[in-house]
């Protein structure tokens, strides 16, 4: 049984890898291709796994050390797998003074994870973010692309139920 599982996992990996390879085809050989390449890879995998960085290195002929340097520099890129839903808590000035810290703490205790990490079931990633430009709605959070504003910590359980 274990073997079967392993085999399927491998197949899935190679499919994703093929897709990633496909994505890189158009930008190969172009100047300044690295950051667009990492964007594409992250859109395929949801993050930047080691096998994909090795692929980028091979395909674009850029040393992996440089690729890792760029990937670890920009906060947009993630080297860890992300959850199915990404919860971003705005900690910009307006949200902060309106109690964003309480919102973050409530999310953290409801999900049982620290900021910057992912729930064990892979459902949610909780992260703090800088101002998202919705100060009029402060305090705000975003779950994936959806914005929730004028929150109090009591609203959190209800919002999370939408995704369970």
């Amino acid at each position: 049984m274990e073997n079967v599982k392993k085999c399927c996992a491998n197949q899935q990996t190679s499919k994703t890898l093929l897709k990633a390879k496909e994505e890189l085809r158009d930008i190969k050989g172009k100047e300044g291709a690295l950051i667009p390449a990492l964007h594409k890879i992250q859109s395929v995998y949801g993050y930047l796994p080691e096998e994909a960085l090795m692929l980028v290195s091979e395909e674009l002929d850029i040393p992996i050390t440089q690729i890792y340097g760029v990937a670890s520099f920009y906060s947009f890129f993630s080297l860890e797998p992300k959850g199915q839903h990404i919860i971003s808590v705005c900690l910009g000035t307006a949200c902060y003074v309106k109690g964003a810290q309480n919102i973050l703490e409530r999310l953290s205790s409801e999900l049982g994870i620290e900021e910057g990490s992912t729930t064990e079931d892979g459902k949610f990633t909780l992260q703090a973010t800088r101002c998202i430009g919705a100060c009029g709605l402060a305090p705000v959070i975003m779950i994936d692309e959806k914005v929730y504003g004028k929150l109090s910590s009591h609203d959190i359980p209800k919002i999370l139920r939408e995704y369970k």
Binding site: L53, M54, P63, I64, T65, Q66, G69, S72, F73
Partner: protein
């Protein structure tokens, strides 16, 4: 030409000269830290700032322009430099009294030069611990000042790219990808990053304690050998000028440290020529596995194992000279002296950090005993001599011990780029022609050009097309040249370090200030070539002890017994990881 004013003096310099270089032409000393001639020119540390009009500019990276009015010594400039150095010091592990670079740290010198007596910025310090897993190169990120000299040496000169900046802002460090240990990635262990580092953030994995322990143990018989390049540089550690040859003093010092025998790796360099020369002749005859690529350099070996694993068959199967000698010490010599091989400890003094890794390779052993037990760099040897309180400069010259003490001029030039090729040509030519060479100097393979090509016609009408390369960046170009198949090559000499072993990663560290005005590769090479010229015997096959060891033990080059002790094999490695 460009005309500018520096501190009120008119200066005329060629176009594209930096302000720093222009200032040096009139004897103005501008301090630098991140600048390393020909390697790092990022202007990131800002120590070399000067006033240009209302602005402070980094003199190392700004090019002199017509009409510039530069001031190198104003209160504003001095304060800016002090602030910069203090900020660097505020995040630097200042354990200077016990630091490996305690007596030649560029940051410490700079701090003294600028009369910095206190650092008022008392902030957080990055705490990351050291990486000492590699047998060759250790890293202490807490001492790193993020100047980038090591990164650019690895990326631009060696083109290996084993280390880079990772993370961002305060968390930035210099490390291999994923913050892995140097031992877990494709690092070739060449140690050029160490000689580029201005502080003690990169250094060799020390084995001084192990060697003292062996010397102090009455049960062990400790045999030492020294590579050709050591004698051309060791004196620098004792204040002698770069390029001074100190062979006799070095031998005397080693004896006083308590080694039971002091041998010369040059002997087995001669032996390498016999084995590798024969291998070359055989491959030329059979046409197989050409070009033959030299195998003396362990940095190059690991490089090819990671990046060109399909070319492993082209490498000579010869062990590197000191490994050959270690194998013979624990067999031929042990038998002759009636000493049990397991009681012998073999120590090699090498200009190289990659030799430490090589010494640990499982395949470089016989009957369960490593050919070489410990490798020390030139710097570590100097450390032991200092610890023992020897007055190195005034030691009387002494001779190496036999049977591994005699060598020819062909062996000593192994320490410099082109040397192995030249030594091989001297022997191969005479073996094939049966005639004495009139002139043994193959100047065509000498010099510091990155890639040298030489077509040498042999007496049997065959022309050997050879490439001589130093620096792994050039090796990469040469490999692409060979792979392109445009031309047929027969012999490739590669030394991983620019200049060859004389400027290896284990050699005395020379300040970036000295490097700005001098080419240490040439200076040390001069010492090597003058040793060669002074030798009575200059061709490996003329070494009487070589003849003797074949008669008594090895039978003939590439014999079965030679293969058992003197030859090896290589391993395919991952392109990115260990």
């Amino acid at each position: 030409m460009v005309k500018l004013t520096i501190d009120g003096m008119e200066v005329e310099v060629p176009k594209d000269t930096t302000i720093l270089e222009a200032a040096r032409t009139i004897g103005k000393h501008i301090p630098t830290l991140c600048h390393l001639k020909g390697v790092n020119n990022s202007g990131s540390c800002r120590v070399c700032v000067v006033e240009s009009g209302p602005k402070l500019v980094a003199s190392c990276s700004i090019v002199a322009e017509n009409g510039m009015n530069i001031k190198t010594n104003t209160a504003k400039v001095r304060e800016a430099r002090k602030t910069v150095v203090k900020l660097i010091l505020s995040d630097h592990k200042r354990e200077c009294t016990t630091c490996i670079r305690g007596d030649n740290c560029e940051l410490q010198s700079l701090s003294n030069e600028l009369n910095i007596r206190e650092v008022e910025y008392d902030g957080e310090r990055l705490q990351l611990g050291t990486d000492d897993l590699s047998p060759s190169v250790s890293r202490d990120p807490e001492k790193c000042i993020l100047c980038g000299r090591c990164i650019n040496t690895c990326a631009k000169v060696q083109q290996v790219n084993a280390i880079g900046f990772i993370e961002r802002g305060f968390d930035t460090t210099v490390a291999p990808p994923y913050g892995k240990s140097l031992d877990d990635v494709f690092c070739t262990n060449c140690g050029q990053c160490i000689t580029a580092c201005p502080v003690g953030a990169l250094y060799e994995k020390e084995n001084i304690k192990d060697v003292w322990k062996a010397i102090n143990n009455p049960e062990t018989y400790v045999v030492v050998q020294t590579a050709p390049a050591i004698r051309a540089a060791l004196g620098e550690e004792f204040g002698m000028p770069v390029g001074t040859s100190v062979t006799g003093k070095m031998v005397a010092a080693l004896r006083r440290l308590g080694f039971d025998k002091v041998f010369d790796t040059d002997f087995s360099a001669d032996l390498t020529i016999m084995e590798e020369g024969t291998e070359l002749i055989n491959r030329l005859t059979s046409g197989e596995n050409l070009p033959l690529m030299t195998s003396c350099c362990p940095g190059w070996i690991k490089y090819i194992e990671h990046f060109y694993p399909d070319m492993l068959d082209n490498l000579s199967t010869c062990k590197s000279p000191h490994e050959m000698e270690g194998a013979l010490v624990k067999s031929y010599f042990a038998e002759k002296m009636d000493i049990k091989p397991e009681k012998i400890v073999t120590v090699s003094i090498m200009p190289c950090t990659a030799k430490k890794y090589e010494g640990n390779r499982e395949e470089l052993s016989n009957n369960g005993l490593q050919d070489i037990d410990y490798v020390l760099t030139t710097r570590e040897l100097a450390g032991m001599i200092k610890e023992a309180g020897l007055d190195f400069k005034n030691l009387q010259d002494e001779e190496f011990d036999n049977p591994f003490g005699e060598s020819t001029g062909a062996a000593v030039i192994f320490g410099v780029t082109g040397g192995v090729a030249e030594a091989a040509l001297r022997t191969v030519f005479e073996i094939l022609s049966g005639k004495e060479l009139d002139n043994v100097d193959y100047t065509v393979v000498r010099g510091l050009e990155g890639i040298k090509e030489a077509a040498i016609e042999l007496p049997n009408g065959i022309t050997i097309n050879s490439i001589i390369v130093h620096g792994l960046g050039n090796a990469k170009k040469a490999m692409e040249l060979i792979k392109s198949g445009e031309k047929e090559y027969h012999f490739i000499e590669v030394m991983a370090c620019p200049g060859g072993c004389v400027t290896g990663g284990g050699q005395p560290i020379v300040s970036s200030d000295y490097i700005m005005g001098n080419d240490i590769r040439l200076q040390r090479a001069t010492a090597i070539y003058s040793e060669d010229e002074a030798k009575l015997l200059r061709k490996s096959h003329k070494n009487p002890y070589i003849t003797k060891i074949y008669e008594e033990f090895l039978e003939q080059p590439n014999s079965e017994i030679s293969h058992k002790y003197l030859h090896t094999h290589y391993i395919k490695r991952h392109k990115f990881w260990k």
